[in-house]
């Protein structure tokens, strides 16, 4: 986490919102599409922290402790949501449209001139990826965020999102194809890339 106080002391509650509000909001926003739901989650987190502040013993940074509470609140939020339980899932026309009738790419992926060690990951790929994630359908975004971004086990993700293992794989596959396509359209990996 970048912002927030690195002190392991409990900061006074009147500075919480200014020091940690945006950090928590950004964390939620990557995983939850609705802006007002994210604000609600931040509020729930602060209230829970206020109520349980004597449990903060300085064993970690205060920001990390707050994010831990937010994670629990988000899991509850995901569990509360109603989802499409149909099996198989309805078709994703955008993903289907990437391939012709014979199953060949309509537009072949291009080589990306970028490595995980490149500084462009931080400066270009992460902001673009965040934007591309925001454009994913909610179910795909949640599956991708929990499974890939947060590295949760698939059994846990299936339970939290109430989806079958097969559907989870379908959601992850669709999310990756959409993200790949979106990043390529933003010029990631190409010298003549367009920001956005």
């Amino acid at each position: 986490m970048q912002d927030g106080d690195i002190s392991k002391d409990l900061p006074p509650a009147d500075v919480w919102v200014d020091q940690y509000g945006d950090l928590l909001f950004r964390y939620a926003r990557l995983r939850v599409m609705d802006r007002s739901d994210c604000e609600e989650l931040v509020q729930e987190t602060f209230l829970a922290a206020l109520k349980g502040k004597e449990n903060f013993k300085g064993q970690c940074e205060f920001a990390t402790w707050l994010v831990g509470i937010l994670k629990h609140k988000m899991m509850d939020y995901f569990r509360r949501q109603q989802r499409d339980q149909s099996d198989p899932l309805p078709e994703d026309s955008l993903v289907e449209g990437m391939f012709g009738r014979s199953g060949k790419w309509k537009k072949f992926p291009r080589r990306w001139h970028i490595d995980p060690q490149d500084s462009a990951i931080e400066s270009d790929v992460l902001p673009a990826l965040q934007r591309c994630m925001e454009a994913l359908p909610e179910s795909q975004r949640q599956a991708f965020a929990l499974s890939v971004m947060d590295e949760q086990k698939s059994e846990e993700v299936c339970k939290t999102l109430s989806v079958s293992a097969t559907n989870l794989y379908v959601l992850l596959h669709r999310a990756r194809l959409r993200l790949r396509d979106c990043l390529e359209k933003k010029g990631i990996g190409h010298s003549d890339r367009v920001k956005g």
């Binding site: 009147d14 919480w16 990306w112 990826l129």
Partner: protein, 88 residues
């Protein structure tokens, strides 16, 4: 009799390439995917891009990005004021 791996199309290769990342590919599927990746440059690029994508996603999840804060990634002034009234 020896079962020869079938030739995949790109759509099936994309699905398998993803599923391999999530750890649920049989040995037979791994072989058919590997054969497709040898003959199809586009899918080879895609396969590498998925590795980069997962790497970037983990990084984004653990630390966010250090770019300038944009209004859509910060609390609205109204939400901030509301929270300040509640949290004292």
């Amino acid at each position: 009799m020896l079962k020869l791996p079938k030739i995949l199309n790109c759509q099936a290769a994309a699905e398998m390439s993803c599923r391999r990342r999530d750890g649920s590919l049989s040995h037979y599927e791994r072989v058919t995917l590997a054969i497709h990746l040898i003959i199809c440059a586009g899918c080879r690029f895609m396969d590498k891009q998925f590795i980069l994508l997962d790497f970037a996603a983990k990084k984004l999840g653990s630390k966010g990005f250090s770019g300038k804060s944009q209004p859509e990634h910060t609390l609205s002034p109204e939400a901030r004021e509301k929270l300040k009234k509640i949290i004292k």
